[in-house]
């Protein structure tokens, strides 16, 4: 199984779509936005925009990585017969989905770390060590519901449909969750949608941490609830996709 994991990581690092959307985009947008607004200060918390944008873009990158590295590759493997190729080896069925989950979560790390590094190097962002660990750790673990969503999409849809659905899901969650624009400037209808989305809970945990606050319980419960619900859905969808008639 370690070898399977290595293979999964290797192929994604060679995948242009992954590298562009997931590794390059968040860093480039961070550099752009922080140069424009980085020195502004949030009135409520006193946190500089360069720090808030770091959280937002890292969250966007992680969200994108978790969905992009799971949904479409998995849909393609099912359709192309690669799944069958694996099913007729001694590899147990649970190892496939478990490896996919772990691989997707590891593939989240490059964008998290690179956005953080860009923030430190270009905007001289500095946080207490504990906040760094809390931030990276929570943004990392918090991708579980998004990986589960990606695997669900990949299990249920053929690649042609999984591709647009994953893209819409990814940008929808990012936009409505306030990763691109602050939720506070949204119209009230959109605002209420934003507040129930896992992406909002996810990013707000990060924003709280960099403001020196403890994450809100509602956000932690929200993301945990989404993780359980989407995780269960992913397992059901995986069973359906690999059923032996």
């Amino acid at each position: 199984m370690p070898h399977y994991l290595k293979i999964e990581l290797l192929r994604m690092f060679r995948n242009k779509r992954y590298v562009i959307f997931v590794v390059v985009f968040p860093v480039v947008f961070y550099l752009l936005y922080s140069n424009l607004w980085g020195s502004e200060v949030d009135q409520a918390t006193g946190v500089k925009a360069s720090v808030i944008l770091m959280v937002s873009m890292a969250a966007y990158g992680a969200l994108a990585a978790s969905i992009m590295s799971s949904a479409v590759p998995w849909a393609q493997e099912r359709q192309s017969g690669w799944l069958r190729q694996l099913q007729i080896t001694p590899l147990p069925g649970w190892a496939i989905i478990t490896t996919k989950l772990i691989a997707s979560m590891l593939l989240v790390l490059p964008s998290l770390l690179l956005v953080g590094l860009a923030a430190v190097l270009t905007q001289h962002v500095s946080l207490p060590v504990g906040e760094w660990f809390g931030l990276i750790g929570s943004l990392w673990i918090g991708t579980i519901p998004f990986v589960a969503l990606g695997l669900t999409i990949g299990s249920l849809l053929p690649p042609d449909t999984a591709q647009p659905v994953a893209m819409i899901g990814m940008f929808g969650l990012a936009l409505l969750g306030g990763l691109w624009f602050p939720v506070d400037i949204m119209p009230s209808a959109m605002k209420s949608i934003a507040h129930v989305l896992p992406s909002y809970d996810y990013a707000s945990i990060g924003w709280n941490i960099v403001a020196g606050d403890a994450p809100e319980t509602s956000a932690v419960l929200g993301i945990a609830g989404w993780a359980v619900a989407l995780g269960a859905l992913a397992v059901l969808a995986y069973r359906r996709a690999t059923i032996r008639a």
Binding site: S80, G81, P90
Partner: protein, 300 residues
């Protein structure tokens, strides 16, 4: 007490597979001893692929029982006893040939050495190439390599040469025979008669989900007495040819019609005397494996 199954690589016992009302495999009973190379020969839809997928545990029989080296298919797969090249399948585009083959072989408890697998599939020179840069025939070679990488005792090949040109086919069968020579059991499905004839030591003819003939290619040929009368039909109607004396089947290919008969003299006589057809370029052939095959698999 050792059971009889232990002697068999494969034992189908009264296996039926239904999809709704459609019966894909109909009461199949078949034993394949360890070390033999067997061709499953049959037209499309005969139940060959369904049978192979049931051997791999990818499909479950509706009724009946399948044993692979005395175990159920799932256990045989888990033990790494089976390798297979299924009909469809592509590779992970971003991985090289070597990476894909090595990944699959490491999943097995007792795999072949990587270099040996690459050599046996004629892939040594392509080892560093990415899967998305391979031709169709090269991809098939990689899929063969994936099937043998784990050193399985039983190799299943479902129409393995479908995407290959003539030259690739020849070397493919050479490679398969080299693998078989190591005492392994091989079952391949094909609808190419020459392939079955040249590459197996036993041919099992399957039609409508049942075994309709089982033996060496020579035995199957001799079991069906039959001749073929063919001539150029052009645009004339073929109606009524099946009513001529001795005729068992009529096939039309392009402007040529072939009439299967067990009495070519009577058929030809009636053709000239009792029809008004303008018969050109008439040929009469003796029975060959193709005739036998067609006679056996003809829809009843």
């Amino acid at each position: 007490m050792p059971s009889v199954d232990v002697m068999n690589a494969i034992a189908f016992n009264g296996v039926t597979k239904k999809y709704g009302d459609v019966v894909a495999v109909d009461g199949l009973t078949l034993d394949i001893p360890v070390g033999s190379t067997v061709a499953l020969l049959g037209p499309n839809g005969a139940g060959k692929s369904t049978s192979i997928n049931m051997l791999l545990g990818l499909l479950r029989p509706t009724t009946g029982d399948i044993k692979v080296f005395g175990n159920g298919p799932d256990e045989a797969v888990t033990r790494g006893d089976i390798g297979a090249m299924l009909q469809e399948g592509s590779l992970i585009p971003e991985l090289t040939v070597r990476e894909s083959v090595d990944f699959i072989r490491r999943l097995y408890p007792d795999p072949l050495p990587l270099d040996e697998v690459l050599r046996m599939a004629d892939l040594t020179d392509l080892a560093g190439r990415r899967a998305d840069k391979l031709s169709g025939g090269q991809t098939q070679r990689v899929r063969f390599a994936l099937a043998i990488a784990g050193g399985p005792k039983l190799l299943l090949l479902d129409e393995p040469t479908a995407a290959m040109d003539v030259e690739s086919r020849r070397s493919f069968w050479d490679n398969m025979r080299a693998y078989a020579a190591q005492g392994r059991t091989i079952v391949f499905a094909t609808h190419y008669l020459e392939e079955a004839d040249e590459n197996s030591d036993r041919v099992v003819v399957i039609a409508r989900g049942q075994v309709v003939a089982d033996g060496t290619a020579a035995e199957i040929k001799s079991g069906v007495a039959g001749h073929a009368v063919s001539f150029r039909l052009g645009s004339q109607p073929a109606a009524g040819l099946d009513a001529l004396p001795g005729v068992s089947a009529v096939e039309i290919q392009a402007d040529r019609v072939t009439v299967r008969t067990n009495d070519p003299d009577a058929t030809v006589e009636a053709l000239y005397r009792k029809t008004t057809l303008d018969v050109r370029d008439l040929q009469i052939h003796g029975a060959d494996l193709e005739d036998a095959f067609l006679a056996l698999t003809k829809e009843s």
